[in-house]
């Protein structure tokens, strides 16, 4: 009886590492094939968008993007040239940056302060307060759209960039505090005590000891928040105005007639995702680390 045809209900006689090694070798080949197919399958949609974004409206209305693989003459920079000469798209791109960068920085600033307090300061109600933060982790931001829209109306913030930024910062905080507090708690106790013994105040301990040591977690958080805000559509859809809208909202406005506007939509969508992809490839390690610490601790 060979290992290949052996039924799943293994017999005692089949034990021994020789047959299991054979099984392992035999299962490796199909795994390679399956995974190669899967990987290609996973890449094709993105490649499709990329290729489409370099084709003219006429070509996209006439044939599938894959025809460009055999007739590369179709590819042209014109869609991108048109896109970048459209002032509303350019200002949408600028708005995206103006919303994303402050959002990411402010979350890190506010959350690292709070995380330090939760990790290294003693005060009454600390644990209950932190449990509330843990509970807030899953609150859907949809719950706050209506009340905050009213609040912004009263404050005259509606339609401004700070309105979008503040909302992102607030809803980024629970995860940010959670992530950083868990990282800060794990820092060596002796270092902090030593600094305090030397007479350093909380602010000094925070800036001179905890922040430098916490950099890996802060980097993860920055990347996360950056991607989250850069990619947001809903918050900007509700709170941004016509001249403060980011790319996502600008692109979504073109979607009403998808086929007719494909020459604008495809390059804009690719440009919109090019920045996150660059960030992802450059900082992959931090990205994955942040993900793991967020969901596994």
């Amino acid at each position: 009886m060979s290992a290949v045809t052996a039924p799943a209900e293994g017999k005692a006689e089949r034990r021994g590492s020789r047959s299991s090694r054979l099984v392992a070798t035999l299962t490796r080949a199909p795994a390679t094939v399956v995974l190669a197919i899967v990987a290609i399958l996973w890449l094709v949609p993105t490649i499709g968008l990329l290729v489409s974004s370099f084709r003219t409206a006429a070509d996209n209305a006439d044939s599938g993007w894959w025809t460009a693989l055999t007739a590369p003459a179709q590819l042209s920079l014109q869609p991108y040239r048109d896109l970048l000469s459209d002032p509303s798209m350019v200002s949408a791109f600028v708005n995206t940056v103006l919303i994303t960068v402050p959002s990411a920085l402010l979350v890190v600033a506010a959350a690292s302060l709070a995380a330090y307090a939760f990790a290294w300061m003693r005060f009454p109600g600390r644990d209950v307060l932190f449990l509330i933060v843990v509970g807030l982790l899953v609150v859907p931001l949809q719950v706050a759209l209506i009340p905050v829209a009213r609040l912004y109306d009263v404050l005259g913030l509606f339609g401004t960039i700070p309105a979008v930024v503040l909302f992102h910062v607030a809803f980024g905080l629970p995860f940010a505090i959670f992530l950083l507090r868990n990282f800060f708690v794990g820092l060596p106790h002796e270092l902090l005590e030593a600094a305090r013994m030397d007479g350093a105040g909380e602010w000094r301990v925070f800036t001179r000891v905890v922040l430098p040591l916490g950099l890996p977690a802060i980097a993860s958080l920055l990347i996360f928040q950056f991607l989250w805000v850069w990619n947001d559509l809903l918050v900007a859809l509700v709170f941004a105005g016509g001249d403060t809208q980011p790319m996502t909202v600008a692109i979504r406005e073109q979607l009403r007639s998808f086929s007719a506007n494909i020459d604008v939509i495809a390059p804009a969508a690719f440009l919109q995702m090019a920045v996150p992809l660059l960030v992802f490839f450059a900082f992959q390690r931090y990205f994955v680390q942040g993900l793991l610490s967020g969901s596994q601790r």
Partner: protein
């Protein structure tokens, strides 16, 4: 140094410090996250403009109005299918990547969509789902398969030019009404073929050459460009239709069959004398594959879920792979040495050991799926958005489209209630970790 022994001034100073460290976060969380929860609960008991208390009317409307009911039903479909499929796919990928040398490259390929916005991912998939098989990759793929098994007919959509002499069968084929004797000829004129659809290589139609031991005939495009011409007669400028299948039938059995040449002429040879039914089988007229309507009412939600799986499988895979790496190799080796097959080791050892990680992934996905919004908004075309509706989308439309803040708040509270179990799960897990 403990709290009790600290001098009072020091303690007061520290209270200030705590306050300053926490203030920015607490103010923002209070104003933009916590206060809205209470406001929404209260607001959900008032009417659209907020002037009148209406009790539970908004909630009653939520569970009776067709638009919100569709949204709730679709969210249910999402929650039942998306998290479990994503977790399963992630598990399979995580286990399989352990067997290949290029696992990092594989992980990057699968994980990449996680960095992309739902909007761009939605645009990507909208392209894939284009209904026209020449434009959408999904239908191009399905069409390629369909065309192998059911190739489009040579004269798709054509009709006969002599309606009194030719009958259309139920399956879409054509047959001459009267029987045809061996030695006779048959004229089969067709119309309703656009000039660009005439098969390539077609030349001027030829009169059939009589055959003594068979039936000869011509299948041609009975339409002279520029008008003129007589139906049923081959006129100048009228082209033959090549590649059309012709069958002679007697007593329900096909006796002879052939295909027309470039001038449309055919000869069925070597037939026993007698009379036969002459027909053009339905396959000649089969329309080319027109494309599955992925974004129509029935398929739109599964189609969007597929895009969601594409995005989130990487997340599940990476988290599960990390959990897998934490399982001691010896545990797996030991069970392999004990005679377990790969499948047994997977089912009896790997999966149970991974259960906590799988639970975390699953719960994270459930929370995420409940809030799904962008993908539906972007992928579902305007005509299908009613059928693809989900709670978060309906909430946005209700609150900021028709400005009904009452019903909008009720939907928001409902969404919040749905994540409460996940909230409890998180808090419980966190407390377990701390002790």
């Amino acid at each position: 140094m403990s709290e009790a022994t600290a001098p009072p001034i020091r303690r007061r100073k520290r209270a200030w410090a705590v306050g300053l460290f926490l203030a920015p976060s607490l103010v923002l969380l209070g104003a933009i996250v916590v206060y809205p929860i209470f406001f929404s609960v209260g607001r959900s008991f008032f009417d659209a403009s907020g002037s009148e208390f209406v009790g539970v009317r908004n909630y009653r409307e939520m569970f009776t109005a067709p638009s919100t009911l569709t949204a709730i039903k679709n969210n249910l479909i999402w929650v039942v299918f998306a998290p479990s499929i994503v977790t399963a796919v992630g598990l399979v990928f995580a286990v399989l990547t352990e067997r290949v040398a290029w696992s990092t490259a594989f992980k990057v390929a699968i994980f990449m969509p996680m960095a992309i916005s739902f909007l761009s991912a939605g645009v990507t998939w909208r392209l894939i789902y284009e209904e026209e098989p020449d434009l959408g990759l999904a239908n191009a793929t399905v069409g390629a398969v369909v065309n192998v098994f059911q190739p489009p007919g040579a004269v798709a959509g054509a009709r006969s030019s002599q309606e009194d002499a030719v009958a259309e069968s139920d399956e879409g084929g054509l047959s001459l009404r009267g029987p045809v004797e061996v030695g006779a000829t048959a004229m089969l004129g067709l119309v309703a073929i656009p000039p660009e659809s005439v098969p390539e290589g077609a030349v001027q139609a030829a009169e059939p050459a009589e055959a003594a031991d068979g039936i000869a005939g011509t299948v041609w495009l009975d339409f002279a460009p520029g008008g003129g011409g007589e139906p049923g007669v081959i006129d100048p400028e009228e082209r033959g239709l090549p590649g059309v299948e012709v069958e002679a039938v007697a007593d329900g059995e096909v006796v002879a069959s052939t295909t027309t040449g470039s001038d449309g002429a055919f000869v069925l040879e070597g037939m026993p004398p007698g009379s036969y039914e002459l027909r053009l089988p339905p396959a000649n007229f089969r329309e080319p594959f027109g494309g599955v309507n992925w974004l129509g009412a029935t398929l739109v939600t599964p189609a969007i879920i597929a895009a969601y799986i594409w995005i989130w499988a990487g997340f599940a895979m990476v988290v599960i792979a990390a959990g897998l790496a934490a399982i001691p190799r010896e545990t797996l080796e030991a069970s392999r040495v004990d005679g377990g097959s790969e499948w047994q080791v997977f089912r009896r050892v790997t999966v149970p050991l991974l259960a906590p990680v799988l639970a975390v992934v699953f719960v994270t996905l459930v929370i995420n799926v409940l809030k799904v919004f962008d993908l539906v908004l972007v992928i579902a075309p305007g005509s299908a958005q009613r059928d693809a509706n989900v709670i978060a989308l309906q909430l946005w439309k209700t609150a900021f489209g028709i400005r009904d803040f009452g019903l909008g708040s009720a939907l928001a509270v409902f969404l919040l209630l749905l994540v409460v179990p996940a909230m409890a799960f998180n808090i419980k897990r966190f407390r377990a970790d701390q002790s």
